[in-house]
């Protein structure tokens, strides 16, 4: 019997699952917004702005979810400051410790970009805030550094699970990769959903559709690799969790959206929002299966 079967579950349930999902979308939306700003067309800017406007409130929500999930929520700051010495608390080899700082850093940069997006509105009351958004020099700097934090937030949660001794989580090195790719697909799906049938988003949606197709194929391959990498441990998924992974995540959350994408030549078709909703549901179910199937062992 594998040694990971002798460990105890940490009771990470729905709040943590929701954090993994929301955090992934926050990081992914920000990253896509930066790509729009740095590599897209001028007509993509409204969709990029939407990405910044989504990211910061979701990061705040992430902080709240994590705090409420603690056994002693009033001590959330112990993650960042040593309570006895008031010195910074950072362990480079503890993903949760690095993650706490990463979340703080991402919160800071996504807040700056959020302000930049507010300033960049057509009739903004604070037009000076535009300086915080590319192509202005300061805005580009904020976006580039913020994008690194965004990618970190999208993927570190999988590394956090891997750096434990729990079944499934610590039996594969591919959880961080899978979560990061899933964050990209779900955030693209959310932006697509919010921009659907809006004239200002039309050209950006085409780019997002191309991106989502590539990422969904990558995600499917990543999930196959994840299952293979588990070896005999994958047998724990010969039950309802496995069915949910295959049917809910891989078929409904990836293959059907891919098929819908290939038929949705006219983006105003209903296939686009249906595909986006399925991708979002699949991304959520992925985290449900990964977290709860290990907790059940």
């Amino acid at each position: 019997m594998p040694s990971t079967y002798f460990t105890a579950p940490p009771q990470w349930h729905w709040l943590i699952i929701l954090y993994f999902f929301v955090g992934g979308i926050a990081g992914g939306s920000y990253f896509l917004a930066v790509l729009f700003d740095l590599f897209g067309r001028i007509t993509d800017r409204p969709l990029g702005r939407l990405g910044y406007l989504i990211a910061f409130p979701l990061v705040v929500l992430c902080g709240l979810l994590l705090t409420v999930d603690l056994g002693r929520p009033e001590r959330f700051w112990h993650m960042l400051i040593q309570s006895g010495t008031w010195r910074p608390m950072l362990k480079a080899y503890s993903p949760m410790s690095v993650g706490a700082w990463g979340l703080l850093g991402f919160g800071f940069f996504s807040f700056l970009s959020f302000l930049g997006a507010i300033g960049d509105a057509e009739r903004s009351r604070w037009p000076r805030l535009r300086v915080l958004r590319p192509p202005r020099m300061l805005g580009a700097l904020v976006a580039i550094v913020g994008a690194f934090f965004a990618l970190f937030i999208s993927g570190y949660t999988g590394v956090l699970l891997a750096v434990t001794n729990r079944p499934i989580w610590s039996d594969t090195p591919l959880l961080g990769l899978t979560f990061l790719v899933s964050s990209a697909s779900t955030s693209a799906a959310l932006l697509t959903l919010l921009g659907w049938r809006r004239r200002w988003a039309a050209t950006g949606l085409h780019a997002l559709a191309n991106f989502d197709r590539l990422v969904l194929v990558f995600e499917f391959i990543a999930l196959i690799a994840l299952i293979v990498s588990l070896g005999s441990i994958a047998q724990v998924w010969l039950n309802a969790w496995g069915a949910l992974l295959v049917l809910g995540v891989m078929v409904a959350g990836i293959l059907i959206p891919l098929a819908l994408h290939s038929r949705a030549r006219v983006l105003s078709g209903v296939a686009v929002p249906v595909a986006a909703v399925l991708i979002l549901a699949g991304g959520f179910l992925l985290r449900v299966v990964i977290v709860l199937s290990s907790e059940a062992v």
Binding site: T7, M79, S94, P95, S154, G155, N165, L174, L175
Partner: protein
Amino acid sequence: MAEPMGFFTDTTVCIGCKACEVACKEWNQLPATNGGRNTLSGNSYDNTRRLDGIHWRHVKFIEQFTPDRAEGRWLLMSDVCKHCVRAGCLEVCPTGAIFRTEFDTVVIQSDVCNGCRDCIAGCPFGVIDMNPVSGTAQKCTLCYDRMRASLEPACAKACPTDSINFGTIRELRAMAEKRVGQLQAAGEKRAYLYGADEKMLGGLNSFFLLVDRPEVYGLPPDPQIPSRNLKPSSAWSLLAAVAVGFMGIVSFRNRGGRPHA
């Protein structure tokens, strides 16, 4: 730093009296299960069931009987935190609540812990759990407070058969090896030490004499530290980040039009 201290638990002389459990709960003022309304397990004399945040010692009752119950034996083992030299819980703890003492033992500071529960997932032995009263993760401290006052831990003090031995690791290892030799000479060829040497997590400062496979006692055959996955998992994530970034640049840039800036 004082000499490393720990436990040597000789399971062959444990009689399952649970004096260690009681002494531990009393000394450490651990609350009763479910406010004292505990239910019986119904399939064993073991109603504690497992180590957790309010049971820092747990006497396991392992019943090995043939189907007709004509032959059988009891394996009794007082389980406890292993106080690993390379401790998984200490590695992952993000608040610094878990620290290594001057006696080379591993202790959770309840006033620092914020209940994130990462240590529960990081422990290779399933030792740590939440204390519902304090809202923090807790486990055996090897009676750190008593040790600082030159007293032996409460469980070892209470053990009537000397199944639980307390002392310096050097002395305990010598004692354990002698006992294994004695048992093997008496015909118990299955006797061996679990976690006494450095091969297992750098050594367990709480190690055991067993007479069956570790799995039979609910112990992992090959416990690992959680950080073994840090580098490979991070490397694959980094690869994914580069790939996703590349896909994004290709999708957003290569569209037959001019970028805006």
